[in-house]
Symmetry: C2
Amino acid sequence: METVIGTIAGALTSISMLPQLIKVIKEKEVQPLSPTMIIVLMAGVALWVVYGIMKSEWPIIISNSFSFLVNGLLLIYYYILKE
Amino acid sequence: METVIGTIAGALTSISMLPQLIKVIKEKEVQPLSPTMIIVLMAGVALWVVYGIMKSEWPIIISNSFSFLVNGLLLIYYYILKE
């Protein structure tokens, strides 16, 4: 039951990040992004992954790995488009 | 140990949300916000709080409650400024 709720929770929080990524890719506009905050967020989600691994909780591991990936892509785009 | 990592993780992911809230309040500009995505995100973090309560994991409960609050404020600002 917890796993079902965790999976839905992770899916919803993951889905909510995609429009920003799509917007940045489509409009090639990174002005609203702050690289410092993306790095802080990535450090946070990386620690959530560690937490999930220590507790063997898959919903936490998967949703935070996905978040790490999406924010990593945003950061890469930020530096590509800034050049 | 897990609690320490979870607390740091929660603090980092929470801190990373604040600049957006501050920016919206200061600049009174909500254009980059999507209310649909804020609602999806709030539904997701609400379920993370339920998940945290079911597993009695405080770092998850606290950081997601904080996220729910910040996004609730963003949503309220969105509708105030849209009027």
